[in-house]
């Protein structure tokens, strides 16, 4: 093997090592903190931004510490599919949907706008978190 050829190969190997080191480093830096909303958070933004308020974020983790799934998804009748419940603010104030609890009785009332309307502008409705049910590759 000629010297030039050897040099070429050595250079190639070094570059390979270096590139994979960069890739690995980036992977390791990113792995512990992907852009991470909490698993199971639900965004409501069918009407909110159109009506000039922030999107709503519903945290499953917070509520499931206090209520079994069956309270909302059976007793109170929330459909188990993000977006299937068409929620209007007038309903909530009348005691439907979130308003079944957020009525100054079981939890604080519907006048605390900023505690529910907490999302960044531009969010899409749906379940956000570590995984979603949108199909292969999205979980």
């Amino acid at each position: 093997m000629g010297y030039n050829q050897q040099k070429h190969i050595r250079h190639g190997i070094r570059r390979y090592v270096r590139v994979s080191a960069i890739a690995l480093t980036m992977l390791m830096l990113l792995a512990p903190f992907p852009i991470r909303a909490e698993f199971g958070d639900v965004v409501f933004n069918k009407h909110s931004e159109k009506e000039g308020v922030r999107p709503v974020i519903f945290p499953h983790w917070f509520h499931r510490i206090r209520f079994q799934c069956k309270v909302c998804h059976s007793e109170l009748g929330f459909k188990m599919r993000a977006g299937d419940n068409v929620v209007l603010m007038s309903d909530i104030i009348e005691g439907k949907f979130c308003g079944m609890c957020h009525n100054d009785n079981i939890a604080w009332g519907a006048d605390r706008c900023d505690l529910c309307h907490t999302g960044r502008p531009g969010l899409q409705s749906g379940v956000i978190g570590g995984a979603s049910t949108g199909g292969p590759g999205r979980w």
Binding site: H11, R14, V17, R18, A21, I22, L24, T25, M28, L29, P32, F33, I35, R36, A37, E38, F39, G40, D41, V43, R54, I57, H60, W61, F62, R64, I65, R66, F67, Q68, C69, K70, V71, H73, S74, E75, M80, R81, A82, M100, C101, I106, R112, D114, L115, H117, T118, G119, R120, L123, V127, I128, G130, A131, S132, T133, G134, G135, P136, W139
Partner: protein, 194 residues
Amino acid sequence: MGRTSREQRRVKPARRWSWVMAVAIAISAGLAWAGNWKPLAQDGLHDPSNTALNQLQNPAEALSKLPPDTAGNQVNWVKALEQGKINPRTNIYAGTKVKVLDKKEPPDVLMKNTAELSMVRFPHKQHSEFLDCSNCHEGLFKSKAGTTPGFNMFNILQGEFCGRCHGAVAFPLTECKRCHNEPRPVPGGAAKAR
């Protein structure tokens, strides 16, 4: 130019990269140890300019006290309930009838169409401690083992059947072994775990 000085110059960057990698490993190990819950203001979802955000609870505050897990909310919710770390209400209205399971009725359902993988033992007991029968029957599943049409892993990954909850709110579908939990008996007699 001399060959040796060139050689040295080429070696150094490689060494530098190994340092960078070592530091990166140390940092990511430290972060993993510290837990992965993001404060609300930094989770990419909540609007940090909302001044009321500090009145909400950060996930780490509540979830770090519960039995740990490696996926989803990083909480083993089944253990949290069994150990009494959480005590979620079963109903809001006094009149609501809450079905409680007597012992193992209905039984676990063993699902065998799992190709080479371990079989799936579906536990009714653990699910009924969170859910009502009507959350699954008859909408998602039939009440007779082996009769639910279209029930397979592909559709689960599409967000149907088990995937309606697992991957959205309950532990995600990456945890194969927690569902594929029943080793397949092999003709020789001993069970084969996989």
